[in-house]
Symmetry: C2
Subunit: 324 residues, 2 copies
């Protein structure tokens, strides 16, 4: 594999995507204060972040609106309440899960929406449904990306087929997603190579969304980037489900494009993230998440371990080894 | 560069070095309870760790013994109090800093000592003094390693000359040390390539000692390992100066040699490290350390920021930019 660019210059194809509200919403059921979201938007614009993901377009038939904050649903009016007509360089993203969204009802034509990109999330067994959503959203006028989740457990042959199908879809960006935070840098390079080959063939971009179970989210993001991946997901102080994500403040320090500015990120962290943490909102790398990452398992057992305030790592580890 | 080995098999040349007392001692001035050190020794033996570093051989002329715990000095009797004659597979290491040790007085012949390896730490401007110490300790019968610190600020041409001089010395292992936690994986690969070329020429091993300022200590350690570095430093839960080191529990999860066992490490963390943290001993990655790492600076300003319990990251960052 050949490196694209080096540490002194910069690649203009790189795009930074802030997922703080969407992945961070998995920590607090999407209950963010409006002021937090407004300040995040302002910080992202000032920092030169390219995309800000506001949350999910979840089905109100499936999910009870009384049990979640509004960013689980991302109504057009709620986004506009924060961004107005969004007269900035920052693009607005939302995520739509295959099978959990009434996209034909809830996603309106781009001409009527302030949203720029619909990020569609799928597992490998629902690729055809994902393609239907991709093409539907594309035809409405949106940019689209496709996240294939949990690829660390996917059959490699099936993944090759899935990537080729997605290559033929209208998706603009195909995301490499390390859902369990289990992939080591050498695996990320091999995967990125595979994704980039498809992307090159079909004229698409590749993105990476990493989790921090093994303290590898930032490392895997810069490794993928070094070899050609260009859409880079990050969140403020890594806020996200379980062990969290790639830290925006680390990514801002790595990128060399002068359009990026770490100062607004630092101010947002000291003014908004620290109070959130002091109020008891918990995320981030801890032993239980390292162990699920090492075992290539969903972090749900580690999240439960955390919620129960347990510290018996050794017992917990033994339970992870039972997989039958 | 070619990968050495892959993720399914293992390389028998890999050695794991626990530096918890030595690098962790920089956090608490080497005041560890004897029971902590004994439990760590027992855990390392059970985990299959290859070397345990007990601390420094610091000069009692230069440093006041009343201001530090005993592991700053590592008297033979104190080590024997923990390990007896050390009838185990685990080897005992101590570190000796060039210019801060009375090595001709304090380092006794290997035949009278339970210590196995003297790890000599130097900056690039004291290489001749380091070589004198290496050869002296070698002639006393010890294994020796040499740590060139702060290479991220060294002139590349001078580093090449230093490595060649060290190649001609009696050192068994040459360490790549990322003192400021500033190096990205692609830089670690280039550096490792350079060190490995010298090591191959002169029949030596290469080690890595990484710091976690940018959450890259583990990533850089496995990257270096993947390309042939074989002595891998780690500490329990990353305990070490400032942002700390590569986590032992992550490294144990990565290595495939069945001699390594993560269970004793997990038990040590829950029984010994968690109480230490609850007692207020502080280390680990935080924004201030990320910023000194990004700027390739010594973490001393970040350590002071932490001690003062400051949270004004943005102001702190601006002060780092003044380098004149």
């Amino acid at each position: 594999m050949e490196q694209k660019g080096e540490l002194i210059s910069y690649r203009p194809d790189i795009k930074v995507v802030d997922c703080t509200i969407r992945d961070g919403g998995l920590v607090n059921n999407f209950y963010f204060e409006d002021q937090f979201v407004k300040n995040l938007y302002t910080a992202n614009v000032a920092a030169g972040v390219d995309y800000m993901e506001f949350g999910y377009k979840a089905s109100k038939e499936i999910f009870d609106v009384k049990e979640f904050g509004k960013w689980k649903f991302c109504d057009e009016a709620d986004i506009r309440e924060i961004v107005g007509d969004n007269n900035t360089e920052l693009k607005i993203a939302v995520m739509a899960d295959v099978g959990r969204t009434d996209y034909k009802k809830d996603i309106i034509p781009k001409s009527e929406s302030v949203i720029d990109i619909i990020r569609i999330a799928t597992y490998i067994n629902t690729i055809p449904a994902a393609v239907e959503m991709i093409n539907y959203c594309h035809d409405l006028g949106y940019e689209t990306s496709i996240n294939i989740m949990a690829v660390s457990t996917a059959n490699e042959n099936e993944l090759d087929i899935a990537l080729d199908i997605l290559g033929q879809s209208q998706a603009d960006v195909i995301y490499l997603v390390d859902s369990y935070g289990s992939l080591y840098p050498e695996q990320i390079r091999r995967m990125a190579d595979k994704y980039l080959a498809v992307a090159e063939k079909y004229g698409k971009k590749v993105g990476i969304h990493a989790h921090n179970n093994q303290q590898l989210a930032f490392a895997n993001t810069v490794e993928a980037c070094t070899f050609g991946v260009s859409f880079l997901d990050a969140t403020m102080s890594g806020m996200g489900r379980g062990a969290g994500n790639c830290y925006m403040e680390l990514l801002m320090g790595f990128l060399r494009n002068p359009k990026y500015n770490i100062n607004p990120v630092l101010k947002f962290i000291q003014n908004q993230i620290l109070p959130l943490k002091k109020a008891g909102v918990v995320w981030g790398c801890d032993v239980q998440y390292m162990l699920t990452g090492q075992q290539n398992q969903h972090p749900r057992s580690a999240i439960a371990f955390t919620a129960d305030e347990r510290e018996d790592y050794s017992n917990f580890y033994q339970t992870l080894l039972d997989r039958e």
